[in-house]
Structure formats: C-alpha cells, structure tokens
Amino acid sequence: MRRKVLIHILALIALIWTVVPIVWIVLISLMYHHEFASADIHLFPHQPTLANYVRLLGGAAPDWNGTAQGPNAYGPLIREGLLNSAQVAVWVTVLSMIVAVPAAYALSRVQMRFRQAGLLTIVATRSIPPVATTIPFFALYQGLGLSGTKTGLVIAHMTITVPLLVWIGTSFFGGLPPGLERMARVDGCSRWRAFARVVVPASRHSMTAMAVIAFITSWDEFTFALIFNTGTPAQTFPPALSSMFFQVSVPTDVASATVLGLIPPLLVAGLFQRYIRKVNLVGL
C-alpha cells in the first residue's frame, strides 16, 4: 500500500515536471505582450486573447488597448516551417517504415548468422550524436545538390529513425507468437501473404507506435535541420522557431509559435494513443 502511494506521488511529480512548462507556454501565448512585459510574473492571463495566433497565421488583431496590429512579420517563416516539417516528417515516417519494418521482421524472425552483431551495430549507430555526422553529410550534400532541400533532410532524418525503428521493431516482432507465420502458411498463405495478411495486422499496434515515434523524432529534429536547411525555403519548424527566438524579443509571439509547433505531434500521439497504450499492455 505504502509502495503504491509512493509510486502515485512520483508519478504526480513527473506529470507536473512535464506538463507545467507546456501549460505555462500555452498561457503565455494567450497574453498580450504588454501584460507579459509590464506585470509581475504570473501564470494566468488577466486578459486572455488569441491575437498572437491570429497575427502569426497572417491575420490582423487589436492589441490590449484596441490599437490595430497587422500580421506578425515572422508568420510566413513559421507557417512555412510547419508545412515543411509536416512534409518531411510524413515522408520520413513512410520511408522509414518501408525500410525498417521488413528489416526488423527479418532480424527478429529469420535465423541468420551474425544477427546479434547486426543488431548491436544498429544500436551503436544510435549512440553517435547527429552533429558528428554533419560534416560528411554536408560534403556529400554539397556534391549531390541535396543541401537545403527537403529530400536531403528526409535522408538525414532516416539515419536516425531507421535504426531506432529497427531496434524497436525487432523487439515487437520478437514478441509475436513464434508459430504465427507457420500457421498462416498451413492455412493457405504464401510466405509474403503470411507476412501481409497475418504478421502486419497482428502487429498493427506496434507498427502504429513505430510510425508515431518516427514522425515525432523527425518533427523534433533540430541539428540536421539547422545545419542543412536554415535560411532556405526548405527550412523546417525547429530552426524557424530558433530564428524567431533569437531575433524577436516578444516572448508571447514565440510562445504562440511554439504552441503551434506542439500541435501536430500532440495530435498524432493523441490520435494513436490507444494503439500505443496497447503496445505497453500486450507487447504487440
């Protein structure tokens, strides 16, 4: 009983630790700059407004004193960043799944030599910080014309997501009952059909979780995006937000841009959370 109470208290602390900064950012984004700059630090806006969002999305909105305010100058940068991030993240998710799912499946289900060594190599690549590979990537991309392109960024992101998904997927597929494919074969499926008709549907929760992880990893990626795409039309949201943060001293604007950037990953995680939760429950 005492242990249970302790676990609940620790969970509550972790929840506060995680949620409070996000809640605070959201509340700041609902304040006028005047209120944020003039009043003492406080949590809840005295005069809540969506003006920061309206201006960031290209509209005009009145200020705290009714003065008309035009669109935010950084709006196009942020909007373009969001769009680019979405495109890159979707491509990274789709391509990473296409590469990683069969690889993970093969590594977990097919008897092969050096399987463990292969898995360890894959994990080892995850320990290399992205910044360590930027110079070879940069040199390569200059030669191939991929620098400053979304294609280049998709490829760079896949060097992070593919090993990650292979590693996670190997564990997921390893958890499937060992005779599943054999049963499908006896029931009339070819090897490929057994994979498509049985293994994939039986692992749909795991695969959804893998896709969500790939999407969020790509959406959040900063180092490659900053080095390869900053200042180009292919700039994604994280470097765009960084530019805005360092160049504009209006925290309420930056807060609203941050909240806009939080929405897609939260939406994806929220939409698919029932699958992700099932992964935790049944290991599939």
Binding site: P177, P178, G179, L180, R182, M183, A184, R185, V186, D187, G188, C189, S190, V198, P201, A202, R204, V282, L284
Partner: protein, 371 residues
C-alpha cells in the same frame, strides 16, 4: 450431422532433413507408414526430430532426400499452403488479432469458399467443440481450455487430409491436459481424420495413440502400439523412456548353476528356463520387482512415495546400488526396513550390455526366488 471425413494414409520414405551445416541430421533416413484414420503419437526427447518430422509433413520444411506421399499423391515438393493439412501448434493456435470466428474461418477464406459454406462449417465445428457462444471473442478473452477447443475447431474446419498436433497441451495445467486428452480421443473416434500427435510426454502418447513412433537423435527407434512398446521395447533406453517409473536395468553376471549375480553379489537371481546369453543386462519395471520383508537381505528401503493407491519404494544396498519397486497392497513398509527383491520373470526383459538392444530371451512365467 455426420462429419465429412477424409481418411488418407501417409508414407514417409527414407526422408532425411538437415539444417544448414549441422553435423547431425534432424531427420536421418526416416521410414514411416501412417495408416488411414490412425492417431499416431510421435514421442521423443528434445532434439529427437519429432517437431522436424511434423514440419516436414506440414510442408513447412523441405526435405534433403526421400519422398512423402499422402495416399497415392507425392507431396514432397508441394508447399504447405497446398497440402491440405491442418496444424495445432504448441505456441500459437489462433490468430491473436482475430476473433475466434475469423481465426477459424481463415483457411476457408484463403480457399475462397462461398460465405454460406464458411458459415455452415463454422457452425458445425463450433457446435462440436461447444464454442458457439464464444465465436466473437478474441483468443485472450477466453479460457485456456476454450482456446484449445477453438484451435481444434480451426484445424478441423477445413476437412484436412492430415491433422498435425505439436504438443498442443503442453501449456495447460495437468488437470486440463487430462481433460483435453480425453476430448481429443473422443474427437478422433468421431472424425477418424489421420492424426499425428507430437509429444515428449510418454504418458500422453501411450494413453491416446493407436500407435506410438519413438524418435531419438533424428532416427525412428520403434513404431508400435502402446502395449507392445511397453512390453517389448526395442532397447533399454526405450524401455526407460516409456516407463512411468524409473526402469531397473541390472547388469548381471553368470554364476554356477544358472544363477545370475548382480551388485557385487548383493543380489543373486535364479531365472527359470534354459540357458541365457553369456552377457546381458536384466530389465525389470518397478511394478514387476516384488519386495518382501527379510532381515537377512542386503537391501533396505531408502525412500517411499505414496502415489495414488500405490507405494513406490527405492531400495538400496550398503554399496549404494539402487532399485525401484512399486507395491499396490495395503501394507506400507517403513524406511530402513530390510527387504528381499524378487523378479516377476514373466515380464522381465534382457538387453545387450553393449548396444542396449533388447535380446530375444523369454523367461518362463515363474517368479524366481532370491537365494
């Protein structure tokens, strides 16, 4: 309604299966005839080749050499999906992501049978297996026994030529296992589908099978009905393997006057009958070793275990030689009681000490006394 039964004989002809560069073949020149409608248990220790045999019969593993025939048809090169076999696997018996109804219907859907026919067959097998009310549940939403019955329903729904079962009851508790065993025997009686049942549990194999094929190290050691296997095992290893209680294998030496001496003279036996081979090991099952109180004996009771209505005694000499005897009478002897062992010669077996093969020796049906 009478079930549609397809009774096919299976021939395994000199089949060898080797995995990669493994030094030993998983199946080593195996010849086996499975009779139409027979329930054959394939029994053996781990690594004996029994699961490989099942996979080869199912078409899940190609053979290196030899032929397989279902009836007159050579199926050696026919893949699993076109062999018309059904398998109840040890680990995954149903699809975890599908309802029982969809799991059972899966093979029929793959055969592209009309929906009405699929429904008819599902209703049929669900009725036989008493799972009608569970069809819309997922496997994890039903009990272990219900899962087993559903798996058997799934296997039977496609009217297979051959039903293969790979240790299907190994994951359930002892009581349910006994119950499932009885149900399987009843079901086989009802359907008569040619069935191969793989198990490492000799009690399970002996209790349900028409015949038992024992495998060891990739080779078929003996194929016989359970009683023959028990009474006339091909080797000392097999006699021990199919024995419920530890098998007594006694190395004996000849003495003058036709007597046999064992354990450095602690045990002297006088078998009835004619001359015996010069060298032999005597095999005696615990239920055929009788013990009686005797103050002058070199043997004493070391342990006693009460098993149902029987008492199992381990008796020993000062040298540490041990024998096991089982008694069914009312008297229960205490530990340290001195006892004389006597052999029920009608059931005694003789084995070659070098090869372990059974020797064709028949002792007369006389219980020999101990001198």
């Amino acid at each position: 309604m009478e079930p549609e039964v397809l009774q096919v004989g299976i021939s395994v002809e000199s089949v060898t299966k080797r995995y990669g560069k493994a030094p030993r073949a998983a199946l080593d020149d195996v010849d086996l005839e499975i009779r139409p409608g027979e329930l054959l248990a394939v029994l053996g220790p781990s690594g004996g080749g029994k699961s490989t045999l099942l996979n080869v019969l199912a078409g899940l593993e190609p053979v290196n050499s030899g032929r397989l025939r279902f009836g007159d048809e050579d199926v050696t090169d026919i893949p699993a999906e076109r062999r018309n076999v059904a398998v109840v696997f040890q680990s995954s018996m149903l699809y975890p992501h599908l309802s029982l109804r969809k799991s059972i219907a899966f093979a029929l859907t793959m055969q592209k049978l009309p929906a009405e026919e699929i429904q008819r067959r599902i209703d049929e097998v669900a009725g036989w297996q008493r799972i009608d009310h569970l069809l819309d549940r997922k496997p994890h939403e039903v009990s272990g026994g219900e899962r087993q019955r559903s798996a058997v329903a799934k296997a039977l729904v496609s009217h297979p030529a051959l039903l293969l079962m790979d240790e299907p009851f190994s994951a359930v508790d002892a009581q349910l296992r006994r119950q499932m065993r009885t149900e399987l025997a009843k079901l086989h009686r009802q359907f008569g589908t040619t069935t191969v049942f793989v198990t490492h549990d000799q009690e399970e194999a002996m209790s349900i099978a028409d015949r038992v094929a024992v495998m060891r190290a990739g080779k078929l050691v003996q194929v016989a009905d359970p009683l023959t296997l028990y009474r006339r095992p091909a080797s000392a290893w097999l006699a021990d393997f199919v024995s419920v209680q530890p098998f007594n294998l006694i190395p004996v030496e000849h003495q003058d006057g036709g007597a046999l001496s064992a354990f450095g003279g602690s045990l002297v036996l006088k078998p009835p009958g004619g001359p015996l081979p010069q060298r032999l090991d005597l095999g005696v099952r615990p239920e055929h070793l009788r013990i009686t109180r005797s103050e002058s004996s070199a043997f004493r009771i070391l342990t006693r275990e009460i098993i149902g209505g029987q008492v199992k005694y381990t008796i020993t000499t000062d040298r540490g030689d041990e024998l096991v005897a089982v008694r069914s009478d009312d008297e229960v002897l205490d530990a340290d009681t001195p006892v004389d062992p006597a052999v029920d010669w009608a059931h005694a077996l003789a084995f070659d000490p070098d090869s372990g093969d059974r020797l064709d020796v028949r002792f007369n049906e006389v219980v020999a006394s101990v001198s």
